[in-house]
């Protein structure tokens, strides 16, 4: 069992690290303040191949793996969690549905532009009245000859402000409950898709996240992923992978905040010495780093399990559950270590704290994670 990264993974990590420091870091503060994601940065992410990391070169992807994707998520999230979620929703949610359940034709048509750098994707599952209870979908897709007509509203759709491709879930047969949901690939140009304004949030403010309404959107039958009724399964499978991305994002948010705090305490002097010379500070930092390292390891374990085609759902849920709580705790402590300055918007830790909260909520709340984990343990 080798816990070190291979040379190939180390080189990818180096790319992500350099890119994040040079391209993402300088923009993070401004994007957060203006609540606007930079389209130039998005284009650069596409160009570097960071939006199709685990997808096969056969479809135009980078041909790498989920472990590399997790490394990417951590490196970018160290500086900007919004960039993390932008990559994650596109990669783990939108692309994976098509990659996992699309026909060869659908993959060439829809997956290729998403992973070769041309288009950005988003994933519409959550509705105003259907969050953790995803089965309570109200968006409807009615078959009409060679096409479906889709009506409904989705909320909190990340990337929808600028995405080209929308993977949307809708009820094709209400009487079948979760087995009556189907998955569809929509494109922005389709008439009837109305994207609302960016929803004002506590954190990841630069990420695009909007309410999207679908009014009589005509979707060809060829755009349905998998069979009718497979939608819920497709959605849940995508989220399994997405959780690994979020866990990595949380690890990145926490590590980024701790790196800043460490820099600060080595320089800040009070009572005649640096804060880092107080044992209280040293112990605190030891604690925080240990928690981050543990979270990182279980995230990698989940990613490697997925890459090896092993069962990874429970691991992914555990990683997200642990890492998201850890990130919130660590960021709060980092703000505390930096005192008044930690609370100022000029320093990045307060943003890290605001960003961390969402990792306990989206792509499955921590409560939902506990459902997944206890469910797999068969204790009841």
């Amino acid at each position: 069992m080798n816990f070190s990264l291979s040379k190939e993974h180390l080189l990818q990590q180096e790319l992500f690290q350099k890119f994040a420091e040079k391209e993402v870091k300088p923009l993070a503060e401004e994007m957060d303040e203006t609540e606007q994601y930079s389209m130039e940065l998005l284009a650069k992410l596409h160009k570097a191949g960071m939006m199709g990391i685990p997808y096969s070169m056969e479809y135009g992807g980078a041909g790498s793996d989920y472990l590399a994707y997790a490394l990417c998520m951590e490196e970018v999230s160290k500086h900007d969690a919004s960039t993390g979620i932008t990559i994650s929703v596109h990669t783990s949610l939108a692309c994976s549905c098509i990659d996992g359940f699309g026909t060869e034709e659908q993959k060439q048509k829809f997956l290729r532009p998403l992973v070769d750098g041309s288009k950005t994707g988003c994933y519409g599952l959550t509705e105003p009245n259907a969050g953790t209870d995803a089965a309570g979908q109200q968006t409807k897709a009615v078959l009409n000859g060679d096409h479906y007509i889709i009506n409904g509203t989705k909320i909190f759709t990340t990337n929808s402000g600028f995405a080209d491709t929308f993977v949307v879930f809708a009820m094709t047969d209400k009487s079948l409950g979760t087995k009556g949901i189907s998955a569809f690939v929509l494109e922005r140009e389709m008439e009837g898709i109305k994207v609302g304004p960016n929803i004002r949030r506590m954190g990841i403010r630069a990420a695009s996240n909007c309410e999207v309404s679908y009014e009589n959107v005509i979707v060809p039958v060829e755009n349905r992923l998998g069979k009718e009724g497979q939608g819920f399964k497709i959605a849940m499978k995508a989220l399994d992978g997405g959780r690994i991305g979020i866990a990595a994002q949380a690890v990145g948010i926490a590590q980024g905040a701790l790196n800043e705090a460490i820099k600060y305490v080595k320089e800040r002097k009070q009572f005649g010495k640096t804060i880092s010379s107080f044992q209280n500070t040293q112990f605190k930092i030891a604690d925080l780093q240990t928690h981050i390292d543990v979270a990182r390891l279980i995230t990698w374990q989940a990613a490697v399990a997925k890459d090896n085609n092993e069962d990874y759902g429970k691991l992914a849920a555990q990683a997200k559950l642990f890492a998201s709580k850890m990130a919130n705790d660590v960021c709060r402590e980092c703000v505390q270590l930096m005192g008044g300055y930690g609370y100022c918007r000029e320093y990045p830790v307060e943003r890290a704290l605001r960003d961390a909260k969402i990792t306990e909520i989206y792509e499955g709340t921590s409560e939902a994670m506990k459902m997944v984990i206890s469910g797999s343990m068969k204790i009841f």
Binding site: E267, R268, K269, E346
Partner: protein
Amino acid sequence: MSKDIYVVAEQRDAVIQKVSFELISEAKRLSMVTGEKVYAILAGAKGVAEDLGDFYRAGADGVIYVEDELLKEYTTEPYTKVVSEILLAKDPNIVLFGATSIGRDLAPRVAARIHTGLTADCTKLEILDWSPNQETEPEKLLYMTRPAFGGNIMATILCKEKRPQMATVRPGVMKREDIIAECGATPEGTKEEFKSTLKKEDMNVVIREVVKCKVQKTDIIEAKALISGGRGIGSPEAFSMLKELAELLEADISSSRANVDAGWIDRDRQVGQTGKTVRPSLYMACGISGAIQHVAGMEDSDYVIAINKNETAAIFDVADLGIVGDLKIIIPKLIEGLKRYKELNRC
């Protein structure tokens, strides 16, 4: 037996560059140890060797020159050919070049052509005894010391067997001496024209255009020297004063965060934790208190001068030379002082 010290002089538009005289003076100093003579090699277009007084004044015993249209502007092959031919004919002990963008193109090619060793960017040259063991009679070698590893360490290099021992030296490192003969006249020296076999076919490039330009503005991270203003400069207009000082010292302007926030100067000039990290040869901190957020961005500078009214300012903990005083009075005087100094030392 290889003998004498040669300096390959550098000219641009027939103006001999300062570094050449610095090296001739250094060569003279070295030659005192071995009792050798110092010669300068000068290549250029017709007329370049007309007035050689400065060479002799700097310490050259003689000048060997080649005048040819092909040598008007520097190009690698004609110069390499001419210099190599002279060195092979004269068999010197030591040859020095200025480590300029010309010298660093020419010297290595010459060294490879005449099959000898070359040491670049030397900051110190000494002639000392060396011997491989106790029994062997020591001989005098050129000890060439230079920075390595990005300037983090110094290395002393020897070229034990091959001749000539060659080195390049940066401008401004060695001191130029002007030797005035007893009656106040220029000391004398020899002048020899070298017949090179240079021909048109030796020119293997074509210079399409020569564009002279002012030194371009650099990112403060690349500046060799920085004059930095803190809150203590008092007003945005004070930056013009700092600019004047910067020009005299071939420096660039930078600032602490306070003035950037106040809109007195662009953010790309900010030095510090939330700005840039710089490590110039000279950092002059004017009216900067020295808060850790600023110091973190400049503490690796080679030489720090700080001017601040407040004796207890933290900047003095990292300044090599700290002046407690009013910069509004000191800097204008410093500007005048530097102008006078440059006038007196113009070459």
